[in-house]
């Protein structure tokens, strides 16, 4: 039987053991994780057929223009009528392909620890399709701003994320204009503080990080000018660029430090300083410890991660390696209740699936309560059991588990599933209930809903 330690590596750090995976991790579970941190890139992620963000953004502009034109033509006709459906590549299709690709990769990857980190950081730097322009670029955001950096420099990830078109659109910096900039004076447009506030509150120093409203305002001024070349620009490339004409001129003081006006570089300097602040180290470390250990992260673990962060100037490879070394992260029983998408991915991995369901993927995610890239607020998906352990979510998990079990039941032996997916983590009671089920389908339903499979 696979040891508890092995199963912690595959299930708590990884995304749930695939058949045969525990055997690979068994001889040296920590080493199995460490190797994943050292794999230099994520070239195994197949981005074939997916669009870079600038291309997706340009298609979105065209799509919008086409819709406007159609609307105008419809209006011109006296009888109204329903506007015809746009025939172009719709932003929703782009998003659906991104979600399918990301799901497929999570289900099949042999570097699941690394992929869990991608998802963790992607959630930390949330962009959400609740705002329409984010729809076509949300998937590209994760591929371009998050994936390359999960075991590298936090500053690089921070910079890539904040300057990505998806973030500039999501948190309104694309429209933010310095009141004393040439653009601000001419058009009377104003400052938007959303991005500045969320960088401080959610991405770096945290809500108790010691900043004031004035810091938010000043930082917002620093950020003005960073926008995306959109339909109103001479060359609508869909790329991020710095527009001097919107930039608020002058020196700005952010969290006690003066930043002279260096144009676009002014924002880079502030981000650089934020990335190495002890408050940022602690905020990020607390979130990591919460994700990998417990909803109430142990103080010693947070301390060690914070030190690793500061000693390495925010090297996320070093911090992640420290995480693997923490005794607190290897305790049983598992305390983390799986979020819906973790549950879904781990179930498919446990069954050895090589792709997600081809139809109804969006509906499945939605009914389980966690459609990718649709978080209701910039704070991202919650990482606490309380948020996911509601009666209705358990009911929907149960119904989905039963439907899955009915589909695969005859081909899979639930006892085998328990051995491969849970090993020594499965308790006596769970084993007895699965063994005593009146059918394979019922046994599989019980295994998927077992307390040990619902947690990690």
């Amino acid at each position: 039987m696979h040891s508890q330690k092995t199963m912690i590596a595959t299930n708590r750090f990884g995304l749930g053991a695939r058949p045969g995976e525990a055997a690979q991790a068994a001889s040296d579970p920590q080493g199995w994780l460490q190797v994943q941190l050292e794999s230099k890139n994520d070239s195994d992620f197949q981005a074939t057929g997916l669009k870079p963000s600038d291309q997706a953004a340009r298609e979105y502009f065209e799509y919008q223009a086409a819709r406007r034109k159609e609307k105008k033509e419809t209006s011109a006709k006296a009888d109204g009528g329903n506007p015809p459906k746009p025939i172009m590549n719709s932003p929703r299709n782009t998003l659906a392909r991104e979600i399918e690709a990301r799901t497929r990769f999570a289900v099949t990857t042999s570097n699941p620890f690394r992929e869990r980190l991608v998802r963790f950081w992607s959630n930390h730097f949330t962009v959400s399709t609740t705002r329409n322009p984010v729809v076509p670029v949300a998937g590209a955001f994760e591929r371009e701003a998050i994936r390359p950096h999960v075991t590298a420099s936090f500053f690089d990830m921070l910079l890539a994320a904040e300057m990505h078109c998806a973030m500039l659109l999501y948190l309104d910096n694309a429209q933010s204009v310095g009141p004393n900039s040439p653009g601000g004076k001419r058009r009377g447009r104003g400052l938007n503080e959303n991005l500045a506030r969320e960088i401080l509150e959610l991405h770096t120093v945290g809500v108790n990080g010691g900043y004031s409203q004035e810091d938010v305002t000043n930082f917002a001024k620093v950020l003005t000018g960073w926008t995306i070349a959109g339909p109103r620009d001479r060359n609508p490339t869909g790329k991020t660029y710095f527009d001097e004409r919107r930039h608020e001129p002058g020196t700005q003081v952010v969290m006690g430090k003066s930043y002279p006006d260096l144009g676009g570089e002014q924002a880079v300097k502030v981000l650089k300083d934020l990335s190495t602040k002890p408050e940022t180290a602690r905020f990020v470390s607390t979130k990591l410890a919460r994700h990998f250990i417990s909803d109430e992260p142990p103080a010693r673990a947070v301390e060690k991660l914070t030190r690793a962060y500061l000693d390495s100037a925010g090297n996320l490879g070093v911090v992640s390696a420290e995480l693997v070394k923490l005794d607190e992260a290897w305790q049983e029983p598992a305390e983390k209740f799986k979020a819906p998408d973790e549950f879904y991915i781990s179930a498919l991995r446990g069954l050895g699936a090589d792709s997600p369901q081809s139809r109804g993927l969006r509906g499945t995610y939605a009914s389980l309560g966690q459609l990718p890239f649709s978080t209701p607020s910039p704070a991202g998906w919650p990482d606490e059991a309380q948020a996911w352990l509601g009666p209705d979510s358990i009911q929907k998990r149960l119904e989905w588990s039963q439907a899955l079990a009915n589909r695969v039941g005859r081909r899979f032996d639930p006892r085998q599933f328990v051995e491969e997916a849970l090993g020594a983590s499965a308790g006596e009671r769970t084993r007895a209930m699965v063994n005593g089920a009146d059918s394979r389908q019922q046994g599989m339903t019980l295994a998927l809903m077992a307390p040990e499979f619902q947690r990690r």
């Binding site: 609307k71 105008k72 419809t74 209006s75 011109a76 109204g80 009528g81 329903n82 506007p83 609740t130 705002r131 329409n132 948190l171 959303n194 506030r197 969320e198 209740f337 509906g363 939605a366 009914s367 309560g369 209701p376 607020s377 910039p378 704070a379 059991a385 352990l389 509601g390 009666p391 209705d392 979510s393 358990i394 009911q395 929907k396 149960l398 119904e399 989905w400 039963q402 439907a403 009671r429 769970t430 209930m433 089920a437 009146d438 019922q442 339903t445 019980l446 809903m449 077992a450 307390p451 619902q454």
Partner: protein, 395 residues
């Protein structure tokens, strides 16, 4: 909703004595504050306030939007006069009209949240968070109010908690099942498997109780989850309250974004309003003896343009309409100020001027119906809203 009978037997098997006995302790004793009940209905997509409550006394009304205006009160298929100025309800709102006459309905026209732009998501975000701008709030005003009224259980109909109900106070959501429900034998085995896992056990037990409490919901479950089938949503919400499972329930109804072919006495908006009106009939019937202690708030993220657009509909506007219904309402009143529809009175020369702050309505209900203090309303429920006085005498 299949399986209703067996669900009943399952709960009996779990050692519960009838419905309330089977509920989670917190839910078994759930009440409104002092047996007062609050049902919040959010019309998502921006309901056309001028289409629902029509000011026939405005000389410019037909100039702005003739194709959207039903015949005047008194004529065939005409609107239903309210007896205040020339205001009348859309002809589909028969129950609401009767409620008005029984003084169980009040109306706040030209109302809006502090939001002044025209995105549905941002508008709903501000409406629900109670913050001054979009994305600035992490939790909802109703949840913050519930933190001040301990013992009141809250629920929402839908696949997830809406923002207005998210936060530290406990709240649950309920949605009808799209997939087949689990059979009794599997449920019973699961409960045995969860004997040493209190959290999962409680959640599963509550799920069965909630399902019972929400009652038999007719119609396509997917449409109910999406808020596109109003009657079942409103009935399920009332069932949760009437059965004692929750004192506060939030329901969301979608489909109000009438850019095209909105219609007048008939048409898309008429159909939606009719569904809403019939749902309220079911709601009152379901609430039964609790109706006299009930307030129903019906609100939407913003209004629609005063002028009809080129596709025989209306576009996103600012000032909209909110209703207060229920036996506890001190009704028959047009609340707040009326800015009028004269050329110069429009907001940005296109919208009904937002003369009334929705927060004043919400604050009035929370204070006088649920007993939340003015201090809490000004500081935590609606942060920095000291200058927004609660509307008086709503209940």
């Amino acid at each position: 909703m299949k399986n209703r009978q067996s669900r009943r037997s399952f709960i009996g098997m779990m050692g519960g004595a009838g419905l309330v006995g089977a509920l989670h302790p917190a839910m078994a004793f759930a009440k409104g504050a002092g047996d007062r009940y609050l049902l919040l209905v959010i019309l998502r997509g921006a309901m056309d306030g001028l289409g629902a409550v029509i000011p026939y006394h405005e000389p410019k009304l037909n100039d702005w939007r003739r194709i959207l205006v039903p015949p005047e009160p008194g004529s065939a298929e005409g609107a239903l006069a309210l007896g205040v100025d020339g205001f009348a309800l859309h002809p589909s709102l028969e129950f609401m009209h009767a409620a008005w006459k029984e003084k169980e309905l009040s109306i706040l026209h030209a109302a809006s949240s502090p939001y002044r732009e025209r995105s549905h998501f941002d508008g709903q975000d501000v409406l629900e968070s109670g913050a001054a701008q979009a994305l600035a709030g992490r939790d909802g005003w109703l949840n913050r109010a519930l933190q001040k009224t301990p013992g009141v259980e809250a629920a929402a109909i839908g696949g997830a908690l809406p923002l207005v109900l998210r936060g530290d106070a406990h709240a649950v959501s309920w949605a009808p099942s799209i997939l087949p429900e689990a059979d009794d034998d599997t449920l019973e085995r699961l409960m045995r498997m969860y004997e040493q896992d209190k959290a999962l056990q409680t959640a599963l037990q509550d799920a069965q109780s909630l399902d019972m409490a929400a009652g038999d919901v007719d119609g396509d479950a997917k449409k109910v989850v999406a808020g596109r089938n109003y009657g079942p949503v409103l009935e399920a919400g009332a069932n949760l309250t009437a059965s004692g499972a929750a004192g506060v329930v939030v329901m969301s109804l979608s489909g109000w974004d009438t850019h095209n072919n909105q219609g007048a006495q008939t048409g898309i908006l008429a159909g939606r309003l009719g569904q809403l009106d019939k749902g309220l009939v079911a709601m009152k019937r379901t609430m039964g003896s609790k109706w006299p202690n009930t307030v129903v708030i019906i609100t939407t993220e913003f209004g629609r343009t005063v002028r009809s657009n080129g596709s025989r509909g209306s576009d996103h506007g600012t000032g909209g309409v909110a209703f207060l219904a229920g036996g506890a309402v001190s009704g028959g009143r047009m609340l707040g100020d009326w800015p009028g529809l004269a050329q110069g009175a429009l907001y940005e020369d296109r919208d009904l001027y937002p003369a009334n702050d929705l927060r004043a309505l919400f604050k009035g209900v929370l204070r006088d119906h649920l007993g939340v203090s003015r201090k809490d309303l000004d500081r935590s429920v609606f942060p920095d809203s000291k200058n927004v006085d609660p509307l008086k005498g709503l209940v």
